[in-house]
């Protein structure tokens, strides 16, 4: 009897002690310390199957770490409004295009990460603020010496690879197809592929057909260079209007409508206009047109040009061939980002229209037919059916084809069928892996690839918990299965991304930075080292009395 009762006492004691220990465990994991749920916004599957699938995979890995994840597919207009403008997001993915003006990484490094750009509607979507980063970013922008700028760019990439406010996930491999039976010498420019101006100026006919039929999803909208918004319109306008300078496929700005340009000091640039250029209506291109273009854009606050010419103080005509640009502060990317983007407008047409329509009306003007001085002239446009450009023979660098017919399709499926059936000769739409398989077999088509200079970027919101803590951000980023996404979602047609400046952009890309991704173990380690705790269900809790750490320090 006594042995049994002693056993009972010991048993009771054991139960009591374990209960108290258990309760202690529970009481320290209070609800307040629980890390808040993360809502990951993804696009719908039809809009972009890549962001959809990648989002699901990322969410799954984050759940493995113990975070509560809610995945919400959202329509693009809503997502861009709430996220990019409203900053209401927790995390979502944007696919940033690799345009020519983004080769100088001013956009990636300054505009997207400087603390002055965190307001509603600006590009620092994550809300990243670091005084150290700001200091180096300003040096990057103001210094005219390319090597010094590169040093700054390297340092900036390194900081970002530790702080991870909006980590890149992958750079896709842009794949375009074209009819190699009838055309050759196509050019795949970094990021733009066959949409690039250099493709149009180089593509050569092999046989009798000298007009390229080009397919794209959706029609052009507005051929007004002041207020156009869509990427597709901009590609077309760059064929019709000539800028003073163009960025070549290596990323270097070369003189174009200007015969030469000279960076006199860090706030003054002078250009000498090429002689003998004509607009498509026969009138000569003069320095008055150049001055007019920039002054006019500033006066009517032309949306497309506005951010580019913000740094411009004044434009002066020095003599009948020279124009001087004076900036209000040193801005190294002015030549590649402003002079290379602003197409010269014919003053004799726009001045008259401006008198007629006023500042607001001129932004709404459909500008048909658009008259520029570029190598392609506008012929006709039947909305939603086709748009034709013909070669401008009097151009100083005429095209080798006689013209381009742009045919809009309703969906990527239509574009692929058009390529297959021979209705179009090439398409500026990057093919998805399944479509590549389908077109590889087609005899008259050749596929060409180029690494994208743009990237898929995951934007955290540092204004909200838990993304305000650098340890959480680092852990979440390490958990992203970048290699798996490249293999399964892109089917190998991409490169995992670690720096916001793509590897293909070889001058500016820093290869020696921290490479966060594909390592759930390391992610867990980071959280454990910082003191995070998990309950027995696996949900993650903050450490006791935790002070949120905003930035990474060694």
């Amino acid at each position: 009897m006594r042995i049994i009762s002693r056993f009972f006492v010991i048993l009771l004691l054991v139960i009591f002690i374990s209960l108290t220990a258990f309760c202690n465990e529970y009481s320290s994991l209070s609800e307040d310390a629980k890390v808040s749920e993360i809502e990951l916004w993804i696009t719908s599957q039809t809009y972009d199957p890549i962001r959809y699938e990648a989002g699901l995979m990322i969410g799954q890995k984050w759940e493995e770490l113990g975070f509560k994840i809610k995945i919400t597919p959202m329509e693009w207009a809503t997502m861009s409004s709430k996220g990019m403008t409203g900053h209401e997001h927790d995390a979502f993915v944007i696919q940033w295009g690799g345009k020519a003006e983004r080769i100088d990484p001013f956009h990636w490094l300054y505009t997207m990460h400087h603390s002055s750009e965190t307001d509603v509607g600006k590009y620092n979507v994550a809300g990243y603020e670091s005084s150290e980063y700001d200091r180096i970013a300003e040096q990057f922008v103001e210094n005219m010496d390319m090597d010094k700028r590169r040093e700054s760019a390297y340092a900036l990439q390194e900081i970002l690879s530790h702080d991870l406010p909006q980590p890149p996930i992958a750079h896709r491999i842009v794949t375009h197809a074209y009819n190699s039976m009838d055309f050759e010498n196509t050019v795949m420019a970094m990021g733009e592929g066959m949409n690039s101006f250099w493709n149009w100026i180089n593509i050569t006919p092999k046989g009798d057909r000298k007009i390229v039929k080009f397919g794209y999803v959706n029609d052009v909208k507005l051929l007004n260079p002041l207020s156009t918004k869509t990427g597709a319109d901009i590609y077309l306008l760059t064929m019709i209007y000539d800028p003073l300078v163009r960025v070549n496929i290596e990323g270097k700005p070369i003189p174009w409508a200007a015969e030469s340009f000279d960076e006199i000091d860090d706030q003054t640039i002078e250009i000498v206009l090429r002689e003998g250029m004509k607009f498509h209506d026969g009138k000569e291109v003069t320095v008055e047109d150049v001055k007019f273009t920039f002054d006019f854009a500033k006066e009517v606050k032309a949306p497309y040009y506005l951010s580019k010419i913000n740094y411009l103080e004044k434009v002066e005509i020095v003599d009948n061939r020279t124009v001087r640009f004076t900036l209000n502060q040193p801005f190294a990317p002015f030549v590649s980002n402003a002079l290379a983007l602003v197409g010269i407008l014919p003053r004799h047409i726009w001045e008259e229209k401006y008198q007629e329509k006023g500042a607001e009306g001129i932004l709404n003007w459909d500008n048909l037919p658009p008259v520029g001085s570029g190598p392609f002239k506008f012929d006709y446009w039947r909305p939603n059916e086709e748009l034709k450009l013909t070669k401008f023979a009097q151009h100083f660098n005429p095209a080798k084809i006689d013209g381009v017919i742009r045919i809009p399709y309703a969906s990527a499926y239509g574009v692929v069928q058009g390529l297959k059936g021979g209705e179009i000769d090439s398409a500026g739409w990057s093919l998805l892996p399944l479509q590549v398989e389908e077109l590889r077999e087609v005899k008259h088509l050749t596929l060409k690839q180029v690494d994208d200079q743009g990237c898929y970027m995951l934007h955290y919101n540092l204004r909200k918990a838990p993304f305000d803590d650098v340890n959480v951000r680092r852990a979440l980023t390490y958990a992203i299965p970048k290699k798996q996404i490249v293999d399964l979602v892109f089917e190998g047609m991409a490169v995992p991304a670690y720096s916001v400046v793509a590897p293909v952009n070889s001058f500016w890309h820093n290869p020696d930075i921290e490479k966060a991704g594909d390592d759930v173990e390391k992610a867990r380690q980071i959280l454990e080292d910082a003191g995070f705790r998990w309950d027995d269900k696996g949900w993650i809790y903050y450490p006791e009395n935790y002070e949120v750490k905003k930035l990474f320090t060694k």
Binding site: K122, L306, S307, R382, P383, E423
Partner: protein, 326 residues
């Protein structure tokens, strides 16, 4: 005739009230749903200052009610606003594409109703036979199959495999026309019209077919049909001259209603066949939050639906002497 006139005027006044309510609902609906016409261009390079310029240009910087007053005043003057995407008046954007859709719609509806009326009559006449079962099931299959799937099947057979018809579009790329109306007057256009019209018409044939069949079955039971048979008239003459004419009434009503709704269904056909029509434009306008174009397009559809309903009622009453005006 006095009765008809009063009736029509009353219906038209009702229509105006309906349309006013419609415009108001459309206006507020588009501005209340999340998303705006500017944010989607940020990725392409539209900076913050530029966004503000555009919002001001679109009139979206003003308080909601003030925007509404401005809008209603303009609509009464016939100004439906300027498209955010295209910079052209919304009416012009729709007008450029409206005729393309209209021609496709009229062609496909005509074929559908022709086949439906004749087919429905024959099926009713041949009640109980295998032909009837096959006919009904066939029509239902075509109705249940997604219209874009049917379209893609036609494309892969007739356009890709046998290369009889083109892959899509309204005209062969590269053709130039001096005047817009000329693009409708060529053999090339007819070739391009065939597959999309066929797809759309086969999709919508089930409705008139089944309505006609039901109506015919009722008519066949009538005494005057028995009388005609007793008179010794040929079967085909009884079918077409006597039975069908009387059975046609419900089908006319259905035609009017279906015509009003047809624009919505044509979107998928336009997408598959790259037909430059209004249907697709509406989808794009909503996705781009191009309020003027979207509102105007929906308003147009609403107007057409109401108008066609009035026409249906008037026609029905005109054709059927048994119906009186109230």
């Amino acid at each position: 005739m006095q009765g008809i006139l009063k009736y029509v005027i009353r219906r038209l006044l009702q229509m105006l009230l309906t349309l006013f309510v419609l415009i108001t609902i459309l206006f507020f609906m588009f501005r209340v749903i999340p998303g705006d016409p500017v944010s989607m261009y940020i990725e392409a390079g539209l900076g913050q200052e530029a966004q503000q310029v555009l919002l001001k240009q679109y009139g979206l910087d003003k308080p909601l009610f003030q925007q509404y007053i401005i809008y209603i005043k303009a609509v009464f003057k016939g100004d439906f606003g300027i498209s955010f995407q295209y910079g052209k008046p919304a009416i012009q954007v729709i007008g450029e594409r409206f005729w393309n859709t209209l021609i496709l719609m009229i062609t496909s509806l005509s074929i559908a109703f022709l086949l439906g009326i004749v087919g429905g009559a024959i099926l009713a006449w041949k009640r109980g036979t295998v032909l009837e079962s096959v006919g009904i099931i066939g029509a239902l299959i075509l109705r249940c199959a997604p219209v874009f799937w049917t379209g893609m099947i036609f494309l892969s057979i007739f356009a890709f495999k046998f290369k009889i018809f083109p892959l899509g579009g309204m005209n062969t790329p590269g053709t130039y026309f001096d005047f817009q109306y000329q693009k409708f007057l060529s053999l090339d256009f007819l070739k391009h019209l065939t597959l999309p019209a066929l797809t759309a018409s086969l999709y919508s044939v089930a409705t008139p077919l089944l309505v006609m069949r039901t109506s015919m079955l009722e008519v066949i039971k009538e005494d005057f049909i028995e009388l005609a048979r007793a008179k010794g008239l040929k079967e085909w003459k009884i079918l077409f001259k006597h039975a069908m004419r009387n059975a046609l009434l419900p089908v006319i009503t259905v035609f009017a209603v279906q015509a009003g709704l047809a624009i919505g269904g044509i979107v998928l056909v336009e997408t598959v066949f790259r037909w430059p029509g209004m249907g697709r434009e509406i989808v794009l306008a909503v996705a781009a939050r191009d309020y003027p174009v979207a509102q105007t397009a929906f308003f147009l559809i609403g107007t057409m639906t109401v108008l066609f309903n009035i026409i249906a009622d008037v026609l029905y009453a005109y054709l059927d002497p048994r119906v009186t005006w109230q």
